[in-house]
């Protein structure tokens, strides 16, 4: 599994270009997340792909050839933090509810919805952790699950920032001074 972070133009069709490229290279995407960045014109993607280092290089370098992709980097070999978030709706009757709550505590999950017959748990963490929780929840009866897919960030001073334009100073005008 290889993790690639990309900064892309935040506009329609870019996600399609990225996923279409992976398909063209016959690389299976395990998860792909997109979210806005502090710059509204730029979005950040985390692509987790079923491929080896060579495939990841090809994907990363090919991604960066797309006009709308500003930067793409394979961070699999670097020290990174990865997070996945899941909402899990699980059967919970009066009898097994206490047992469930114990597991919730152990996995540092949270109960975010309570219904007579079920609970919704929210858990974030590494994929392994969420898979682990799922494993122990299964005997209770998992009714529904939604996962975000991974987001990743390099640790510490290893920064991965979008390439920036030559700084354009915002021209702030005193209120009411522009129309004399």
């Amino acid at each position: 599994m290889q993790t690639i972070v990309a900064y892309v133009e935040n506009k329609p069709g870019v996600l399609n270009r990225v996923s279409s490229l992976a398909r063209r290279l016959a690389i299976n995407i395990d998860s792909l997340t997109v979210g806005p960045t502090e710059n509204e014109e730029i979005a950040r993607m985390t692509v987790v792909a079923h491929t080896d280092e060579k495939g990841a290089h090809r994907l990363e370098a090919s991604l960066e050839k797309l006009v709308d992709v500003l930067l793409a980097e394979n961070i699999s070999e670097r020290s990174i933090l990865e997070r996945d978030l899941a909402l899990i709706k699980v059967l919970a009757d009066q009898k097994n509810r206490p047992h469930l709550m114990e597991l919730v505590n152990v996995f540092r999950a949270r109960v975010v919805d309570v219904a007579p017959e079920s609970l919704i748990l929210e858990v974030s963490g590494t994929v392994d952790k969420i898979d682990g929780l799922l494993e122990v929840l299964r005997p209770f009866g998992v009714l529904e699950m939604a996962r975000t897919g991974r987001i990743a960030m390099t640790r510490g001073g290893d920064l991965l920032r979008p390439p920036s334009a030559p700084a354009v100073e915002p021209t702030l005008q005193p209120v009411g001074s522009d129309k004399k």
Binding site: E9, G13, N16, R17, S20, L21, R24, K54, H57, R58, A61, S62, E64, K65, L66, V67, D68, L70, L71, P163, S164, A165
Partner: protein
């Protein structure tokens, strides 16, 4: 100044230096055609939109500039797909402009609506749909920048009919390209560079693999200096042909599936491969497991995605071929490799004897003879545009190119039907050049409708059909690998000379060797297009041949008794 979107498009193309547009009108592009009529742009009416894209491609390849093709929405746009893919695979800068239904009805399956940006996404360098007149100038300028920069490629601009009709303020200065800011070009660090220099100067048996990238970056001069300084033997890829003179003793010729035996053997024996602007295509390497196992590899390539794709390299210098070669040049030790070059010349040994040129005239007309005679008669100075198949490989073997951009051929996609339209495009970009089309009887029948374009535009090119009554290369594979079961390869064709006459073009049929040179001469003297139908040996094959996926060392050689005397009639 207020203009319609269509007028903005024509004005923008004019300001970008466009002179010729190859296209075909239709409903969704009509406003643009109305504006074209009022502009100084020369529109060439093609007979099929695929032809328009190949013409734009040939125009770009022969000149190094950008070719422009135009079509309407729906079928007009989908007919361009093959030409766009051809340009993509060979990194050819073309801009395709398509009309699109009005933005208000997009997605409603309107008449002649097709999602052409969706369809062409994987086969364009970039594509974009424009729905507002005010975005047209900037988008077209961006398309030209994208098509030409870095590793070139096709860009498609899809313009809705309402955007063509709407009016907007036209301000050229204010419509500067605003492309996303990418990070600075990834190149190479000093350690990588030093490693390359070390490899260069310690090699005993180096071979350069010269590719299309040398032509694209106009690096021929720097390359020649690099080659002669280091005294490196040079093997060419098909698309690299012309980047280094064929008459230079260091030029070995073409490598790969139909490369000359000594070239492939030299590669297999080399201790260093210096790949410049090429991508280790499977037609070049054969089996990767057995490819140049004793050689270290240096890869000079502008596209980072090509590094280590097929062949793992020891030093990768990512960058423009010319810049990298110029940076390397001062570090290259001069001379050397005399023994190695002498050894390669020994490898040539028997090949000259096997060469079909050395065979006595036994009454058969061989394609190789025809092509070699065209080379001799044109003194190697023509622009030759080939189709795909046997004649294409014979061209690479028997027409010796000394000038950059004098061979135009579809390499990566191997598109049959490419030659005739691409030659028309080449002629428009190089009107003073002598342009020859080399095409098989199969490929010619795919796009021969463009003969009418030639007549309508009154251009002068020479068409040589290498007519063997077969889809020759496929037949050759059937002969070698399918026990001569010629399924769907015998091919009926019209009388091409009579067909040419029907179009108003002089046509001639040549069946004997003694007629070849006189006919070529008389065709060259004509100020008009002439079509020559060379009826060549039906079951000749291209040698040597490395079977697909076989080792480069494992070549099928021309048999001593080369040809079946009783060729089957198609």
């Amino acid at each position: 100044m207020k203009l319609t979107g269509a007028e903005i498009l024509c004005e923008s193309l004019t300001r970008l230096g466009v002179k010729h547009i190859f296209g075909y009108p239709g409903g969704a592009i009509l406003p643009v055609y109305d504006a074209l009529g009022k502009s100084k742009l020369h529109h060439i009416l093609v007979r099929h939109e695929q032809g328009a894209t190949h013409m734009a491609d040939g125009y770009a390849r022969a000149s190094g500039g950008v070719g422009v093709a135009m079509a309407t929405s729906g079928p007009g746009a989908t007919n361009m797909v093959t030409g766009i893919a051809t340009a993509m695979l060979d990194s050819s800068p073309i801009v395709c402009i398509t009309g699109q239904v009005s933005s208000k009805v997009i997605g409603s399956d309107a008449f002649q609506e097709v999602d052409i940006t969706g369809i062409t996404m994987p086969i364009t360098k970039h594509n974009v749909i424009v729905t507002r007149a005010e975005d047209i100038a900037r988008t077209v300028r961006e398309a030209f920048v994208i098509a030409q920069s870095g590793r070139p490629g096709p860009v498609l601009v899809d313009i809705t009919k309402d955007a063509q009709q709407a009016t907007a303020e036209f301000n050229w200065e204010a419509s500067e390209p605003k492309l996303p800011i990418k990070r600075a070009k990834v190149t190479y660090n000093k350690a990588e560079f030093d490693r390359a220099v070390e490899l260069l100067n310690s090699a005993k048996r180096p071979v350069i693999l010269a590719g299309h990238g040398i032509l694209v970056s106009a690096a021929s001069k720097a390359f020649a200096e690099f080659v002669r300084t280091g005294n490196y033997p040079v093997a060419m890829t098909l698309l690299g042909i012309g980047c280094f003179p064929a008459n230079d003793p260091l030029n070995l010729g073409m490598m790969g599936m139909h490369g000359e035996a000594w070239v492939n053997n030299a590669i297999q024996e080399a201790d260093l491969l210096i790949a410049v602007g090429m991508r280790f295509d499977d037609r070049v390497t054969g089996s990767l497991q057995t490819y140049a196992r004793n050689a270290r590899k240096i890869h000079i390539e502008i596209d980072r995605a090509e590094i280590n794709k097929n062949v793992a390299v020891d030093a990768a210098l990512v960058g423009d071929a010319r810049e990298v070669l110029e940076a390397l040049l001062p570090h290259v030790q001069t001379g050397g490799h005399g023994d190695w070059i002498a050894h390669i010349n020994e490898l040539k040994g028997g090949s000259a004897v096997r060469d079909i040129q050395s065979l006595p005239d036994n009454g058969h007309l061989y394609a190789a003879h025809v092509i070699n005679d065209i080379w001799k008669e044109t003194k190697g100075e023509a622009i030759v545009v080939t189709d795909v198949g046997q004649h294409q490989m014979w061209e690479a073997q028997y027409y010796h190119h000394n000038r950059p951009r004098s061979l135009v051929t579809s390499g990566g996609l191997g598109t049959m039907g490419f030659a005739l339209p691409a030659a028309i495009g080449a002629k428009f970009s190089q009107p003073d050049a002598e342009v020859w089309v080399l095409v098989g009887d199969g490929g010619f029948q795919m796009t021969m409708c463009e003969l009418a374009t030639i007549v309508q535009e009154k251009i002068n090119i020479k068409i040589a059909i290498i007519n063997n009554g077969f889809l020759g290369m496929v037949r050759q594979w059937q002969e070698f690998f399918y026990d001569k079961r010629y399924v769907a390869t015998p091919l009926v064709a019209p009388d091409f000379a009579a067909l040419a006459n029907a179009f108003g073009i002089r046509g001639e049929r040549i069946t004997t060797r003694s007629d070849v040179i006189p006919t070529i001469r008389s065709a060259r003297e004509s100020k008009e297009t002439v079509l020559l139908d060379f009826r060549v040996e039906q079951e000749d094959s291209v040698y040597p041949m490395v079977a697909a996926g076989a080792s480069l060392s494992d070549m099928i050689r021309r048999p001593d008794n080369p040809l079946v005397e009783t060729a089957t009639e198609p």
